[in-house]
Amino acid sequence: MPAWLVAALAAFAVLNVVLVIVTYVTLLERKFAARMQTRIGPYRVGPHGLLQPIADAVKLVMKEDIVPDAADRPVYNLAPIVFLIPCMLIFATIPFAPGLGVADLNIGILFFLAVSAMEIVGLFMAGWGSNNKYALLSAMRAVNQIISYDLPFIFSALVPVLLTGSLRLSDIAAAQSGLWFVFYPVIGQLAFLFFVISTLAAENRVPFDILEAESELVAGFRVEYSGMKFAIIQLGEYAHMVGSSFLGALLFLGAWSGPGPEWLGPIWFLIKAMLVFLLVTWVRWSFVRIRVDQILTLSWKLLLPATLLLLATTAVVIVWRTSGLT
């Protein structure tokens, strides 16, 4: 079988697995949030609401696709696609098991971070294309929030890279078989904390979700979308969210290392990713949203210097460790 066919099949398989995970993650979040608010959550469609995501998808596909007449039509129609592509691409370099992964590039994490920053283009196109004041305001807010949080996101993701010395994701995962990086004395916990905070902000989840702040901007940049386009944007957002939690699980929680036989690896990896996702959801359902200017000051004045400092100390610690040992 020619190499490109193998890669295509692997990509097809991973894409479908990811789509299933992403749809069922929405149900997991709704049930988890419901229980946290002492209510039941979706239980009508299928046993205990298990078919709810499929029902949502079918509903959105069948919904009428309304395009505002004053919209900038090409930009408006292209925006969901441009938003979805990077969110799916980030799963390319994630190895789900030692050999199991679409493309295990030696610059894996660099590819991941570069592509995940691309989604802002699609987002701004959506905001601009729908020619709606609320969408424009929210797109403007999105640009400066995601840009300002990408830097801390990258720096905190680089800490494990320093600890293993390689950009390849499978190397990072392998290096953690002994000690998970989150348990690395001080640096591990801090790096994980900054990583989670900047994922929250890069995904514009509460308390940083000024993007689609219902109380002010109704639904943010998605306000003019309906039907399939809305489903695509929603899918992209959740895919990006799941991608980041997979990355978090890989970088800090030792992707597939866990008790039990070898083939249990991917299951452990999935459980850890879901734990990171639930941690983010837990934060999401406990806090109030803060204002735009406060978010930016938090990023530039607190998070950025902190992550830079952390990166420097890890470098110093590593140099001291290696020189001390040899």
Binding site: F32, R35, T38, S286, F287, T297, L302
Partner: protein, 188 residues
Amino acid sequence: MASPESLTTIVMAVLRAMRVTFLNLFRKPVTVHYPDVERKYPNRFRGLLALTYDQETGEENCIGCRLCEYVCPPAVIKVEMLKAEKRNYAKTFTLELYACEFCELCVQVCPTDAIIMMKSFDLATTDRREMLLDKDRLHAIGLQHQPSWATGNRLRDAQTPPKGAPRPHPPQEPPAAKPAPSPTGASA
């Protein structure tokens, strides 16, 4: 920008907030599966309006005196009296449910406990004309659902002073002549 001790208070506050939501994770949900689980009504529930029959004689209670028509704030009740030898009857009795405010003044003013409210609140109908209840619809509703405790006499008796009142019997337990239809007994 945050001094050390305010940093600790911030972190403590964040953890405390998250602890509250975490603890609520294990509380029993308060919502019920509505259509399958029927909600329990309190005794004095003000629901759908209905006309009643007398327990013994099986006759209509309503004597068409139009007191309810005069007292109704949104003027939704229309009654025409039918004169007869021993007692009068209501020829027609219409009630526009879409403007009714469920304030229970008509029940309070009715001398013969003819109009009472039922323990049911599913008033939705597909056709607006069904909201214009006429006499037989009101009687039919009276037989379908459970009546609420509040009837004209009980409401008025509850307001009169219990002790030393010239009333022949204290209002607490229901007057012997009219056994209370409500299952839980009059717990006035």
